[in-house]
C-alpha cells in the first residue's frame, strides 16, 4: 500500500499571497457588481410594475389636466373642440416631461445604466425639501436627519445590547436574565407602535416632550439652541427604536455569548484561573468578533433606509418617508437612486467585511489556498 498522492504535473502551483488576494478580490467584486446590476434592474422593473406604471401615469396625467381645465372658467368657456385640443397639448407636454413618449424597455435600460454609474439625474415628480429636482439633493437633504436618528439609535442599541448581554451571560439564570428572557417577545411590536404610546404619555398627557418633528417651530436661530432642540426631539423616537429592539437583541447576544462561554477552551482557561474580564476579552469576544462586526456594519447600513412608519409617526424628515413618497408617486429615479446607493453600500460592506474577517480572525484565509 502506498499513499495516494496526486501526480506532480497535476498539482497547482502555489501562487503568491498578493496574487491570491487580488484574484479573490476581483472575483468577489465582479460577483457583487453582478448582484447589484440584477438587483437594480429588478428594482426598475418592480417599481414600474413591468411597464404598467406607464399606463397609470398616463391616466393620472389625463385626470389631472382634465380637473385643472374643469376648474378654469376661461378654458371651460372655449368651444369643445378647442378645449379638447388644449387638453391634448397639455397632456402631451406632461407625458413628455415624464418620459412617457419613450418605450418603457428603453427607459429601463437607461435607468439601470445611469444608476450603476451613479448618474442619479433628475426626479420625475418629486423635489427635495428645498425644491431641487436632482435626486442627489433629494437624498442628501434627508441623509443627515436619517443618520442622526437611526445611527444614534443603532449605536446606542448595539453597545447597550452587547454589553448587557455579556454581563447576562456571566449571570446565566439570574433574575435579570429571566426578566430579559420574559421581555424578549416585546420586540414583536414595531418601534412606531411604542412611538404612539410614548407620544400619548409624554406629549399628550404629560406635555413634557414634543409631539414630533425634528426641531421646535419656529427653529431656534442659535446653533446651540438648535442642537438642543433637535436632541429633545430625538428622545421619543430613539426611545421607541430602543424599546422595540433592546430585549430581543440582548437575548440573542446573551444566547450567542453563552454558546461560546461553554466551549472547552473557555473551561480550560477558567480552570487555569483567568479573571472573568480576561476570559471575556480573549476567549469570548475575540472569536465572536467577526459576528459582532458584521452585525454592527449591517445595522449601520440598515440605518440608511430609515423607517417609514416611525418617521411618519414622529414626523421625522428621514429617507424612509422619501422612499415611501417616491413609491407612491412611481418616481423611478428616486427609488432607483436610494436603492443603488444602498446596494453599493451593502456590496462594499460585504467586501470589506471579508477583509476585516481575515484581519481579526487568524483562522480565516483569503484566496484559493484558503478554500482548499
Amino acid at each position: 500500500m502506498t499513499e495516494a498522492t496526486p501526480p506532480p504535473a497535476l498539482r497547482r502551483p502555489a501562487s503568491s499571497p498578493v496574487v491570491r488576494v487580488l484574484t479573490y478580490s476581483a472575483t468577489r467584486l465582479f460577483a457583487l457588481f453582478l448582484t447589484v446590476v440584477v438587483g437594480i434592474y429588478l428594482t426598475v422593473l418592480i417599481a414600474n410594475m413591468g411597464g404598467h406604471v406607464d399606463l397609470i401615469k398616463r391616466t393620472e396625467v389625463r385626470e389631472a389636466v382634465g380637473t385643472a381645465v374643469g376648474m378654469d372658467p376661461v378654458m371651460m368657456a372655449l368651444p369643445v373642440e378647442e378645449r379638447h385640443r388644449r387638453i391634448a397639448e397639455l397632456v402631451a407636454i406632461e407625458e413628455e416631461r415624464l418620459g412617457l413618449h419613450r418605450p418603457f424597455f428603453e427607459r429601463s435600460v437607461y435607468f439601470t445604466r445611469d444608476a450603476l454609474m451613479l448618474r442619479l439625474g433628475f426626479a420625475e415628480r418629486m423635489t427635495s425639501d428645498a425644491g431641487s429636482r436632482l435626486v442627489r439633493n433629494i437624498i442628501l437633504e434627508r441623509l443627515p436627519p436619517t443618520l442622526l436618528l437611526f445611527v444614534s439609535a443603532q449605536i446606542l442599541l448595539f453597545v447597550t445590547s452587547v454589553l448587557w448581554a455579556l454581563a447576562l451571560s456571566r449571570g446565566y439564570g439570574s433574575t435579570m436574565d429571566r426578566i430579559v428572557i420574559a421581555l424578549a417577545p416585546t420586540s414583536a411590536a414595531p418601534a412606531w407602535f411604542y412611538g404612539i404610546f410614548l407620544i400619548l404619555i409624554f406629549a399628550v398627557v404629560l406635555g413634557v416632550l414634543p409631539f414630533g418633528g425634528m426641531v421646535q417651530a419656529p427653529p431656534p436661530e442659535h446653533p446651540v439652541a438648535y442642537a438642543l432642540s433637535v436632541l429633545r426631539h430625538m428622545v421619543l423616537p430613539m426611545t421607541a427604536l430602543f424599546l422595540a429592539s433592546i430585549f430581543l437583541a440582548v437575548y440573542q447576544w446573551r444566547t450567542f455569548f453563552l454558546i461560546f462561554s461553554s466551549e472547552d477552551y473557555v473551561e480550560v482557561a477558567k480552570a487555569k484561573g483567568l479573571s472573568s474580564r480576561a476570559l471575556e476579552r480573549r476567549y469570548i469576544l475575540r472569536p465572536t468578533l467577526p459576528t459582532i462586526i458584521t452585525s454592527f456594519a449591517l445595522s449601520m447600513i440598515v440605518a440608511w433606509q430609515g423607517a417609514i412608519i416611525l418617521e411618519t409617526v414622529f414626523n421625522w424628515p428621514g429617507l424612509g418617508r422619501t422612499l415611501f413618497t417616491a413609491i407612491g408617486h412611481f418616481d423611478t429615479a428616486v427609488i432607483v437612486g436610494i436603492t443603488i446607493i444602498y446596494a453599493y453600500l451593502l456590496a462594499v460592506t460585504v467586501f470589506l467585511l471579508d477583509i476585516i474577517y481575515a484581519l481579526v480572525d487568524p483562522r480565516v484565509k483569503v484566496g484559493m489556498e484558503g478554500e482548499q
Partner: protein, 833 residues
C-alpha cells in the same frame, strides 16, 4: 380722631379705585385702540408646521400645541371627538361629492352574447329609486354628508336658483325600491333577459356586472352597498376593489368596454364656489365633456344634447331663460342617468374655539382666500397662531409656474394681496384694491350683477380702440397695438373699465419696502405674451396651450390713466356674473401670477436665470432642459439668483428696457435692487408680495414656514371681519294641521339665524312648494313678507288640486349672503271638500 382717621382713609380708598380704573383703562383702551387702528393681519405671526395625521392633529389642538389644522376629515369618530372637547370648534365644507358612473355601451356586446343593462337609460334612471341616499349619508358616512340627486352642488348658487325644480326632482326620485324593481324588470324583459332562481340571465348566462369600487375612502362602503342593491334586484355582481392607480386606467384610461367594467364609484371636487354650473351637463353627460373613451360613448337624447351644448356656450339672452334651460336640463340628467349622484361630503376642519377665521364653503379653511385677513384670537389682537398641515413646501415656490399644491398655495395667498377677493359663502367677487368697475357688454349677452361696485353697461357693439395693446414682439420687446394687428378694426363682446384705488401706488408696498409701481403691472402683461412666444429668450412650450386659450378670446388692453390707475380690458370671454367679468379684468392688471405674487425686480432675476438656461420657471421646461426648477425660497436656485442680483444691482438692470424703461426710472430700479438685496440678506430668500403676511423664514427640511404680519399693509384689520361664519338660515313653518280641498290655507314661515330674525334685506326669496299625497307638485309660489314672518298663502286653485291624505308644504329660503339654501317642511292632512 377715629372719625378723622376714617375720613382721611375714604379719599385714599377712592384714590385707589380711581387708580385701579385708570390702570384698567390704560390696559384696555390701548388694546381696543390698537384693534381699531391696526392694519393688515390681526395676529403678529403664523408658524406653519407639518402634522400628517388627523387624530394626532386633534390631540395637538387639544393640547394647544397648534391652534388650527388646515385639513379636513370625514371620520365620524374624529368629528365626535372634536365635539366632545370644549376647547375645540370646527368648520365644514361642501366641495367633494360621490356618484356611481355607468358604462353605457351596449346593450349587447361580445357578439351579442352578453348584456349590459346600463346601456338602457330607464334602468340607469331606476337606480335613483333603488338607492337610499339617506342610508348612505346617515349610516355609511356617519352623517357627514348631504344627499345629492343632481349634477349641481347643493351648496352652490345654482341649486338655490333652481331650488324648486331640484326639490321636486328629489321628491320624485326619492327611495322607492319597488318602483326600481318594476322598471328594471320591464326593461330586462324587453331586452330578452329572464329571471331564473332570482337571477337575471341572458342566453343562458347570468347578467354579470363588474363593479369597480375605489378603496381609499367612503366609496368602498358605498360601492359595497350599491353592489348589494344590484344583487338584490337579480344581477350577478363581480366586485373589483382598488385604488385610483389600479382602477383609473381601467375606466378612465381604457376603452369603455362593458366586458371589463359596467359601473364604477366616482368622486369629483370643487375647491371654489362655482357660481355657474351650466357647463356641468355638457361635462358629465356628453362626449364633449372629456376626450376619454367613456365620454365618447355617451349618447344623450338629442334634446338634452342640444340643451347641454347651449348651456355650455351660454347661448341664451336672459338669466331667466338660462334658469329655465337649467331646470329642463336637470330633468333630462336624471332620466339620462349615466351617473347616479349619491352624496356630498361634509367634512370638518378643526380649530381652537378661541380662534376665528373665514372658512370657504367649498375649500374649507385652507382653500379660503380670506383666512389671512381674518385669522385672529377672540377678544385680543396680536399673538402667534401655529397652523398644522399635512404637508408644506411640497414643490418649489415661484410665482409664474411654481408649486400648485393647496398646502403651499394657502400660505402663498397669505403673502399676496389681490385686486378682488371671492366671498367664501357665495363665490361672488368683492373689490379689494379696486374702487369700482364698469362692465360694457353686448346687449344680447345675459350678464347680471349682485354687488354695487360693478356697473352694468349694455351696448349694441364694442369696438376696440386702435391704440390698445393686443400682442407683443419678443424680439423688439414692445407691445403690438390693435391698429397694427387689425387695421380693419376689431370688436369685443365685453369691455371692462376698472378704477383702482386712488392712492394705489402710494399705499401698496412690497414686503421689501418698495412701493408698487406701474412697472410691476406692465411686466405681468409682458410675461403673459413673452413666455409663450418662440422668439423670446424665455420661451417655454409649456406656456403655449394656456396662452393660446387666452389669445383666442383676448381683444386688447389700455391704460386710461396712471394716477389714479384706470384701465380698460377687452375680451370675448364673458360670464353671467358681472363681478366675475370685472374681477378677471382687474386681475389682469394686478401683479399676482398663477402661483403667487411677483414684483418686477424679483421676477427679473428669474427671467435672467431662465434666459441663461440656469433655472426654469416651469417644471416641464426644467425637465426638458435638464436644469433646476426655479425656487424663490430655498435650494440651489438661491445661489443662482444671488449672482443675478449682484449683476442686476451692478448694472441697475431694468428688464425689457425698450418697453419697461418708459415705466421704470433708473432711480426706482436703484431703490428696488437695494431693497431686494437687504431683504435677501435678512431673510435668505427672494419671496416678496404685498399681502397681509410676509414670508419671514423657511426651514425646508424641518418643513416649517414662518410668516410675520406685514406692518405696512394698507387696510384696517377689521375690513373682512364679517366673514367668520356663513349666515345659514334656520327655517320653521307653522300652519293648520288639516286643509280642506278647495279651501284657502296659510302657513307662517319664520326665518332666523342664531335665534334672531334673518334680515329681510339679506333674503333673496322664500319659496313654497305644495306636494300632494302622491308626491306630485301641485303648486309653487313665492311667500310674502308679513312683518317678521313670511307667509305662504295657498289659494283655492292650489288646494283644489290636492287629494285627501297626507300632503306637505316644502319651503325653500334663498339667502343673498350665503349660497346654501335652507329648507323646512310642514305636513298636514287634506280633508275632502
Amino acid at each position: 380722631m377715629n372719625g378723622n382717621q376714617y375720613q382721611s382713609q375714604r379719599p385714599r380708598a377712592a384714590q385707589w379705585v380711581v387708580l385701579l380704573l385708570l390702570i384698567a383703562a390704560a390696559l384696555v383702551l390701548p388694546a381696543s385702540t390698537m384693534a381699531q387702528g391696526r392694519t393688515g393681519a390681526w395676529v403678529d405671526s403664523i408658524v406653519v408646521l407639518v402634522e400628517p395625521s388627523f387624530p394626532a392633529a386633534v390631540s395637538r389642538l387639544e393640547a394647544n400645541d397648534i391652534q388650527v389644522y388646515f385639513m379636513s376629515s370625514v371620520d365620524p369618530a374624529q368629528r365626535d371627538r372634536i365635539g366632545r372637547i370644549p376647547a375645540l370648534a370646527s368648520d365644514v365644507s361642501y366641495g367633494l361629492f360621490w356618484e356611481v358612473s355607468f358604462n353605457p355601451v351596449g346593450p349587447l356586446y361580445a357578439n351579442g352574447t352578453r348584456l349590459n343593462p346600463f346601456a338602457v337609460p330607464r334602468i340607469r334612471e331606476a337606480m335613483n329609486w333603488l338607492v337610499n341616499r339617506r342610508h348612505i349619508v346617515d349610516e355609511l358616512m356617519g352623517g357627514m354628508g348631504r344627499a345629492r340627486w343632481l349634477p349641481i352642488n347643493t351648496a352652490f348658487p345654482d341649486y338655490a336658483r333652481l331650488a324648486d325644480t331640484a326639490r321636486r326632482l328629489e321628491i320624485t326620485y326619492t327611495h322607492n325600491p319597488d318602483r326600481a324593481r318594476t322598471v328594471i324588470a320591464e326593461e330586462m324583459g324587453r331586452l330578452g333577459a329572464t329571471m331564473v332562481g332570482g337571477r337575471w340571465q341572458f342566453r343562458g348566462a347570468p347578467v354579470s356586472i363588474t363593479f369597480l369600487i375605489r378603496t381609499e375612502d367612503e366609496r368602498r362602503a358605498i360601492g359595497d352597498y350599491m353592489a348589494g342593491l344590484l344583487e338584490g334586484v337579480g344581477f350577478t355582481v363581480e366586485r373589483r376593489y382598488g385604488t385610483a392607480a389600479v382602477l383609473s386606467p381601467i375606466w378612465m384610461g381604457g376603452p369603455a368596454d362593458p366586458a371589463v367594467w359596467k359601473a364604477v364609484t366616482g368622486g369629483w371636487i370643487s375647491t371654489t364656489i362655482d357660481r355657474d354650473q351650466a357647463d356641468n351637463f355638457n361635462f358629465f353627460y356628453t362626449p364633449r365633456g372629456r376626450p376619454e373613451p367613456l365620454w365618447q360613448a355617451y349618447r344623450p337624447a338629442p334634446a338634452f344634447d342640444t340643451l347641454a351644448d347651449r348651456l355650455a356656450r351660454s347661448d341664451f339672452t336672459t338669466v331667466a331663460a338660462r334658469n329655465r334651460m337649467m331646470a329642463e336640463a336637470l330633468e333630462f340628467s336624471v332620466r339620462d342617468g349615466v351617473r347616479t349622484w349619491l352624496a356630498e361630503r361634509v367634512p370638518v376642519w378643526p380649530r381652537r374655539a378661541e380662534l376665528r377665521l373665514a372658512s370657504d364653503l367649498a375649500g374649507g379653511t385652507s382653500g379660503s382666500w380670506l383666512w389671512p385677513y381674518t385669522i385672529r384670537y377672540e377678544g385680543r389682537t396680536g399673538g402667534t397662531v401655529r397652523i398644522g398641515i399635512p404637508n408644506v413646501l411640497v414643490e418649489p415656490w415661484n410665482p409664474i409656474a411654481g408649486s400648485n399644491w393647496i398646502f403651499d398655495l394657502t400660505f402663498i395667498r397669505a403673502t399676496q394681496d389681490s385686486a378682488t377677493l371671492p366671498d367664501p359663502f357665495t363665490g361672488l367677487w368683492h373689490p379689494q384694491r379696486v374702487e369700482r368697475a364698469e362692465v360694457f357688454f353686448r346687449r344680447d349677452l345675459p350678464v347680471s350683477k349682485t354687488l354695487d361696485w360693478v356697473t352694468l353697461r349694455p351696448v349694441p357693439e364694442i369696438r376696440v380702440p386702435a391704440g390698445a395693446f393686443i400682442s407683443w414682439d419678443p424680439r423688439a420687446q414692445r407691445f403690438i397695438t390693435v391698429g397694427e394687428r387689425h387695421p380693419e378694426g376689431l370688436t369685443a363682446r365685453t369691455r371692462t373699465v376698472v378704477h383702482f384705488e386712488r392712492d394705489l401706488f402710494r399705499n401698496v408696498q412690497w414686503h421689501d419696502g418698495s412701493p408698487l409701481s406701474l412697472g410691476d403691472i406692465m411686466l405681468e402683461w409682458i410675461l403673459t405674451f413673452d413666455r409663450a412666444m418662440e422668439g423670446s429668450a424665455i420661451f417655454d412650450p409649456a406656456a403655449v396651450p394656456a396662452f393660446r386659450t387666452f389669445e383666442r378670446e383676448f381683444r386688447g388692453f389700455r391704460i386710461i390713466s396712471e394716477r389714479p390707475l384706470v384701465v380698460e380690458y377687452y375680451t370675448d370671454t364673458f360670464f353671467t356674473d358681472a363681478e366675475l367679468i370685472a374681477s378677471t379684468a382687474a386681475a389682469a392688471f394686478w401683479p399676482s401670477y398663477a402661483q403667487g405674487p411677483g414684483a418686477w425686480h424679483n421676477l427679473a432675476l428669474g427671467i435672467r436665470a431662465e434666459a441663461a438656461k440656469e433655472l426654469a420657471f416651469s417644471s416641464a421646461k426644467a425637465t426638458s432642459e435638464r436644469i433646476e426648477w426655479m425656487s424663490f425660497i430655498a435650494g440651489p436656485s438661491i445661489a443662482i439668483l444671488d449672482r443675478h442680483l449682484a449683476a442686476s444691482r451692478g448694472e441697475n438692470f431694468i428688464p425689457y428696457a425698450p418697453t419697461l424703461g418708459r415705466f421704470i426710472t433708473a432711480d426706482e430700479a436703484r431703490v428696488r435692487w437695494t431693497n431686494l438685496a437687504g431683504w435677501r440678506g435678512a431673510r435668505g430668500h427672494f419671496w416678496i408680495g404685498t399681502g397681509a403676511f410676509q414670508l419671514q423664514r423657511v426651514a425646508p427640511v424641518e418643513r416649517i414656514v414662518e410668516l410675520h404680519r406685514f406692518a405696512r399693509f394698507p387696510d384696517p384689520a377689521t375690513r373682512w371681519i364679517g366673514f367668520d361664519a356663513p349666515k345659514l338660515a334656520a327655517v320653521a313653518v307653522t300652519g293648520p294641521a288639516t286643509v280642506r280641498v278647495g279651501a284657502e290655507a296659510a302657513f307662517d314661515i319664520r326665518v332666523t339665524h342664531a335665534g334672531r330674525p334673518y334680515p329681510p334685506a339679506e333674503i333673496e326669496r322664500v319659496r313654497w312648494l305644495l306636494f300632494d299625497a302622491r308626491d306630485n307638485l301641485s303648486a309653487s309660489a313665492d311667500a310674502t313678507r308679513v312683518g317678521d314672518v313670511w307667509r305662504a298663502a295657498l289659494p283655492t286653485a292650489a288646494t283644489d288640486r290636492l287629494v285627501p291624505g297626507a300632503s306637505r308644504l316644502e319651503v325653500v329660503v334663498v339667502s343673498r349672503v350665503v349660497a346654501i339654501p335652507s329648507f323646512a317642511t310642514a305636513s298636514f292632512t287634506v280633508m275632502p271638500r
